[in-house]
C-alpha cells in the first residue's frame, strides 16, 4: 500500500508541475522543444544530470566497477564532470548563439545551414536515427 501511495504522490507532483508549466508556456515549437531558449541554471543542471543518468551510467558502471575496481569512477563520473561542462562552455554556448540567431531547433538544421547543403542534414538525420538502434 505504501509504495502505491508514494507513486500517486509522485504522479500528483508531476501533474502539478506540468499544469504550472503549461500555463506559463507559449504555444510554439521553440518553447516546447527548447524551453524558449532560456532556462535557469538549476533546471539546466538537473536536465544535464538526468540526460547522463542512463542505464549505462547506473547499471553498466556499477557492474564494471565490480569487475575492475574503483578506478571506474574516475573513468566515468569524474571524467564526465570534466568533459561535459567544458564541451558546453566551448561548443554549447556558440551553438546556442547560432541557434538563436538563425532559429535552429535541431542539430540537422544547424548542419544544413552551416554547409548550406540539404543532403548533409539528411545524412546526419539518418545517422542520428541509426545510433538509436541497439546492436
Amino acid at each position: 500500500m505504501i509504495p502505491a501511495i508514494v507513486v500517486f504522490i509522485y504522479l500528483a507532483i508531476v501533474a502539478v508541475i506540468g499544469t504550472i508549466a503549461f500555463r506559463k508556456s507559449k504555444a510554439n515549437t521553440e518553447d516546447f522543444f527548447l524551453a524558449g531558449r532560456t532556462i535557469g541554471p538549476m533546471v539546466f543542471f538537473l536536465s544535464i544530470f538526468a540526460t547522463n543518468m542512463t542505464a549505462f551510467a547506473i547499471l553498466g558502471s556499477s557492474g564494471q566497477a565490480y569487475r575492475q575496481g574503483i578506478g571506474i569512477y574516475g573513468l566515468m563520473a569524474s571524467s564526465s564532470g570534466f568533459v561535459i561542462p567544458l564541451t558546453i562552455f566551448f561548443i554549447g554556448t556558440r551553438l546556442w548563439a547560432l541557434g538563436k540567431r538563425f532559429g535552429h531547433q535541431t542539430q540537422v538544421q544547424f548542419f544544413r545551414d552551416r554547409w548550406e547543403c540539404d543532403n548533409i542534414g539528411t545524412v546526419i538525420f539518418a545517422l542520428s536515427a541509426a545510433m538509436l538502434i541497439r546492436i
Partner: protein, 79 residues
C-alpha cells in the same frame, strides 16, 4: 595572457585526471571508509567544478548573449 593562463589551468586539470598514483588502489582508507583511489577522483570532481567556476567568472563569452535574432526572416525545414 589571461587566456593562456586559463588554458594552462584546463590542461593541468586534465593531466591531474590521469591518476598515476592511486588507480585501483583501495588502501589507505580516507576518513576510515573511503578508498584512496576513489577519494582522489572525488577530489578531482571538486577541482573540475572549481575550474569551471573560474572559467565562467573570467572567460564567459558574454558577447554571444547579445546575438541578433534573424530567425523570422528565414525559412527552416523542421528536421
Amino acid at each position: 595572457m589571461k587566456k593562456l593562463l586559463l588554458l594552462l589551468m584546463v590542461a593541468l586539470v586534465y593531466v591531474l585526471h590521469q591518476d598515476f598514483w592511486n588507480w585501483r588502489q583501495a588502501d589507505p582508507l580516507v576518513f576510515g571508509f573511503l578508498p584512496i583511489g576513489l577519494a582522489y577522483q572525488a577530489g578531482f570532481s571538486i577541482l573540475a567544478s572549481i575550474m569551471m567556476a573560474v572559467l565562467v567568472k573570467f572567460a564567459w563569452p558574454g558577447h554571444l548573449e547579445q546575438v541578433e535574432d534573424l530567425a523570422p526572416q528565414r525559412n527552416h525545414p523542421t528536421h
